[in-house]
């Protein structure tokens, strides 16, 4: 092949154009908006490691070129390589899984504690003891990862596996038993429901493109939690009459939202989810919390879905209230089931004043990846401080 000098010119010029263009485009756009170019912020602060890092992050975060091209690339990776990016894993039959949950299932836990607050047990025990000192019963509800219940939809190799309980999860459940901490074993519950699925025609317990459970999962969980609450004898079934109304909600799925690509989202039809909205039997008004209820439920987004999201009053809180025949008080902290929700409770001590039961829900993956770990949270010291 003869050497043509124009090929060298083309190569050099093209390369320079590609590396210069994004900076120029960004600068022009920022000047046109009447702003100081972000690139010059380097000179506005002392060159400390933190400032330099923040500067680099800021350049990337504000880059118009990245904002324009990233979703297209994500779509191409999704379309041609079945790659859902850093946050999600593509399973079978169109199911998506949350990557941290998959990592929780397959990764080796660190040897020894990862940090002072990485072990859930001391935090759970401390919380139980503090509540017990106030005469309040604690019921812990770890919600299984989607991967634990539907491993066969994650990978073909797990076909016929049924429901899996990760070693770390099993260890925690065993420790809860050993320490006399009351808990609901939703793994058992969901295993039974899954086995019966073919016979009863019950829908799947989790959504295909969401990290959370389906209305069927909510129903199964609410029923089993209520059974255990009533079996405990502290509380009897209340006299509030609730009924259910069928409502269809459209959900794109939080895993799809997380991909942050309009093209991917546009290529997938939202899931139509048939929910049961809980309403007051007499007035027909949707279920509402009662802060002065004797039962307080704490938890993460597994409590929020269908309850505070569309269609509303159709999540675990409402269905548990229906099963128990009494309204509940609740604190919901998205992604904060391990520590943040208890900190929320500590900031609202009055909520505990007349409680007999606290139900604490958290997602299984939080056992390892809980936001802020598993800190011991001190509640107010005496009942008098609640008032």
């Amino acid at each position: 092949m003869p050497i043509d000098r124009r090929a060298y010119v083309y190569l050099a010029a093209g390369f320079l154009a590609v590396i210069i263009a994004p900076g120029v485009i960004q600068t022009v756009a920022e000047l046109r908006r009447g702003e100081t170019p972000g690139a010059l912020e380097l000179f506005l602060r002392p060159p400390t490691a933190r400032n330099l890092h923040a500067y680099e992050h800021g350049l990337e975060a504000s880059s118009l070129v990245i904002q324009r091209l990233r979703p297209r690339m994500q779509y191409a990776e999704w379309r041609f390589l079945d790659d859902a990016g850093e946050k999600a894993v593509v399973g079978r039959e169109g199911w998506l899984f949350y990557r941290p949950s998959v990592r929780y299932e397959v990764e080796r836990p660190a040897i020894g504690p990862e940090s002072d607050s990485s072990d859930p047990l001391p935090a759970i025990r401390s919380f139980r003891d503090q509540l017990q000192a106030r005469g309040i019963r604690l019921l812990v509800v770890p919600v299984p990862n989607k991967e634990s219940i539907y491993p066969e939809l994650l990978t073909r190799r797990a076909q016929g596996l049924g429901v899996v309980v990760n070693e770390q999860t099993q260890h925690l459940l065993d420790e809860l038993d050993r320490n006399g901490i009351e808990h609901v074993d939703l793994f058992q519950v969901f295993r039974r429901v899954k086995q019966d699925q073919g016979r009863t025609g019950t829908g799947r317990l989790y959504l295909a493109r969401d990290t959370h459970w389906s209305p069927a999962g909510v129903h199964a969980a609410a029923a089993s939690i209520a059974r255990q609450v009533l079996a405990g004898g502290v509380l009897s079934r209340g006299d509030h009459a609730y009924s259910e109304r069928s409502v269809v909600a459209q959900r794109a799925g939080d895993l799809v939202e997380m991909l942050r690509s309009a093209s991917i989202k546009g290529s997938l039809l939202p899931e139509s989810v048939v929910c049961s909205r809980v309403v007051q039997s007499d007035s027909g008004a949707p279920y509402e919390d009662r802060p002065d209820s004797e039962i307080l439920i704490l938890g993460d987004s597994f409590l929020r879905i269908y309850e505070h999201d569309v269609p509303g009053a159709a999540g675990l809180i409402a269905h548990l209230a229906r099963e128990l025949g009494r309204p509940l008080a609740s604190i919901v902290n998205d992604g904060g089931g391990s520590t943040l929700v208890r900190q929320d409770l500590a900031r609202r001590p009055a909520l505990l004043s007349n409680k007999k039961l606290v139900i604490w829900e958290f997602a299984e993956r939080e056992i390892r990846f809980g936001t802020e770990g598993w800190r011991i949270v001190r509640l107010a010291r005496s009942a008098s401080e609640f008032n």
Partner: protein, 164 residues
């Protein structure tokens, strides 16, 4: 064939110099502009302060794909323009702090804003605040100062950058 590459690249460098010069010209205002002239500050909240962001604890601000959250940051009050605050050191909750303030409002928290783009330590900010975050916001709160038991935690409604 010893064509000098310098000439090819010189054009690019001159362009860069022109752009940077243009960027440095007085017509280009700094991010914060003159915050006191921002009428939105007076329209929101019950308190208005100028304060210095003392620190951003490790992990207090991060991009969160799934959920919204508010984080608590510590400020040293420089001047109180409206209302009153308790002490010189105050704690302020900011909603979805990884977003520029102008883009942070959503259905859950509709009325916040400001011209601040990124939170950085030692920044001086002018904020309009509400008196209690717990009264204003019921979502997820990340409070790295939980052990210090700050009370009250103010809620930032409008946040403009003054300097830094």
């Amino acid at each position: 064939m010893t064509f000098r590459v310098s000439r090819t690249i010189l054009g690019g460098s001159l362009l860069a110099v022109v752009l940077i010069s243009a960027a440095c010209s007085p017509s280009a205002s700094m991010g914060g502009g003159t915050p006191s002239s921002d009428p939105e500050l007076a329209r929101h909240g019950t308190i208005e302060v100028t304060a210095k962001l003392v620190e951003i604890p490790e992990g207090a601000i991060f991009e969160r794909e799934l959920y919204n959250y508010a984080t608590v940051l510590k400020y040293q009050v420089i001047e109180v323009h409206r209302g009153s605050v308790r002490g010189q050191t105050i704690y302020v909750g900011h909603y979805n702090p990884f977003k520029p303030r102008a883009d942070a409002a959503d259905q859950l928290v509709p009325n916040i804003g400001g011209d601040l783009k990124t939170f950085r330590e030692d920044q001086v900010e002018r904020m309009s605040l509400d008196g209690s975050m717990l009264d204003e916001f019921s979502g997820a709160i990340l409070n790295k100062y939980f052990e210090e038991d700050p009370d009250p935690i103010y809620w930032a409604v409008w946040t403009d950058l003054v300097s830094g």
